[in-house]
Symmetry: none
Subunit: 415 residues, 2 copies
Amino acid sequence: MKAAILSVGTELLFGEITNTNSVYLSQQLNLLGCDVLYHYSVGDNPIRLKETIQTAFKDCDLIITSGGLGPTQDDLTKEVACETLHDELVLNESTMKALEDAFKRMKKTMTENNKKQAYVPSRAIVFDNDAGSAPGFALEENGNTIICLPGPPREMTRLFERKVKPYLESKIDGKIYHRMIRTIGIGESQLETELLDLIDNQTDPTLATYAKEGECCLRIASKRETLEEAEQAVNDMLDLIKERIGEYIYSSDDEDLVEVVAKLLMENNISISCAESCTGGLFAQTLIDIPGISAVFDRGFVTYSNQAKIEELGVKEETLEQYGAVSSQTAMEMAQGVQKASGSRLCISVTGIAGPDGGSEEKPVGLSYVGVIFDDKQVCEEIQTRNVNRKWNRNTTALYMLNIVRKIILDPDYQ
Amino acid sequence: MKAAILSVGTELLFGEITNTNSVYLSQQLNLLGCDVLYHYSVGDNPIRLKETIQTAFKDCDLIITSGGLGPTQDDLTKEVACETLHDELVLNESTMKALEDAFKRMKKTMTENNKKQAYVPSRAIVFDNDAGSAPGFALEENGNTIICLPGPPREMTRLFERKVKPYLESKIDGKIYHRMIRTIGIGESQLETELLDLIDNQTDPTLATYAKEGECCLRIASKRETLEEAEQAVNDMLDLIKERIGEYIYSSDDEDLVEVVAKLLMENNISISCAESCTGGLFAQTLIDIPGISAVFDRGFVTYSNQAKIEELGVKEETLEQYGAVSSQTAMEMAQGVQKASGSRLCISVTGIAGPDGGSEEKPVGLSYVGVIFDDKQVCEEIQTRNVNRKWNRNTTALYMLNIVRKIILDPDYQ
């Protein structure tokens, strides 16, 4: 099935609300094996709404609308759907009864325009809405189907889950399976270059790359007769990909890097403390976002001034003078200071130039040094981010720090 | 001008990302006085992309696309825009130079597909992208304009703000002036209640309220023949509003609270240090996001464990035992510890329950205590956030801390 998602409501076109209905419906339809080809948003305008439905049916045989089913004059989705698929609205007795009961319960008077909601297309399959007043429905004509759902996300998702999904499952062949692979340390174009033959030759499974801030994602998807076959095809492809770029993969299940690292620390009960200069608390705060981290996270130092590095971490004045605050020597002394203060098994430090100022030819903006101590192992890593801006440099540096924690725990050869 | 917003990327159709670009562009275009008639999302498919552009131009004379300008094979927006508006791609020397320089700085190899990004339509007005590698551009034909922007929201918004907005302003009749008023400590419904008569009677200037995480915004906009008239109308309205809710306003120029606070600290040369438990470095990292803050920010402590509070800040064991880690007593001792260690003029601490666990009837999730010392003044404030989730509680607590810093500096009666 080829599908379009059509959101109706002028508030979308004013940017007053974010279209989360399209996200939900896209995920659900893809899981059912439908190809979603378009998202459309239109205002409460019957002419443009009708034209959009007709345009969508050129390429698609399924349209799911949300919004425009309410009691007010500008709610016109039902009328337009009916007109486009050559049907007429008739009173649905059971919906009318449910509406009357609801108004009685709320001790409110049912106005004339509320009764409008009890009218549905005569050929429609009606989906009763137990979370709101507007029912949904499916209307078919010559192999084309339009499914109209209410706009409020809570009503829409409830109705989809309970009524629309079983209705669609009965109409669809094949099952789909997909995995999202997360990588760090490899750019999107290099990733594509490494996998070019696989991407070029793809039919099923399909491969797609996505750039995210500081990292890269790869989606593998397959549609087969059974879920088991689709899963097998995806996992075989994943094995091939791991052979080529395995060192960059930190999750095959769409986890964030901080989740992966926090889990590693918590499952292995590895205590951690840190000292940050340029990231200024970002590394600590990212980890502390994870519930339960208090079991392993002991303390952090934001030693922004040189004085703070000396007083809190015992960094030597000579080191700062001789090598500078941004140097591998300072980073290692910072990490050693954290270890002395906290006694944590894993101690990590960072000192760098976040920008926009403070860079030089020798030490450009975006450069940092990370010192890390894990049990007896001490490593210092130099990081150079693409200097986008201060925020980006700091975010990327904190991501790389998380990755260094991951590597020093998992990789016995890391040095 | 009648506009359509066209988002390009298969990841949208899979529901993998939420379309925030359409929200931003809708808001911006409406502010410029454009009518947004449609949102479209299509995948990386040249045929459907071309058809959608042609469909949009039936009703609209402006299309803004985002996405599909990257270096990979499936990035085709530029090619399709070119074909639809009968132009051809040519090498843009200055973009190529910028790309080469960026790769040199990152010490990375520039692959063949990266060079693709330096090609733009021959008739295009090019918008250089200093936050990423793909430039944006505007291409016109017979009164129709297509503006193609990169997909990553950070790049897109930056390009829009700096390049696209001035370009569009020069094409639009009438002048629009608007101000975004930022408030903290007042909810959206209370704000609306206070201003109800102004909102109900609005024609020009118009008023609109927006809820943001932990705060509330109010937009005042006017469209007049001249910019001076529009500006005058907006500022007169602002004076009226200040009389009613002035105490909650922290910016009349859409500044973030952290910018306002950082400016206060830097302009008055007030040194600051902090100690954080529940926010875990978030307060420090938020401040350190501001360039130049090193002139006043000295150090921060992330004292997550009780041991860290005792060892780094000299919090008394008896205090922790008698009142608990989340108490005004602990917060004040933390602030005093920061003062002793740093000697900063302004020292602030926080200890609280971020959740999801750890709350009790007496001390529910979302409760924190903030201790603040400014010269001779010592204040402890209790904060209770609406418990949405861990992240929300921590973000809101850090915002309130910033507001406490603002108040203790500005308000001589604050206590």
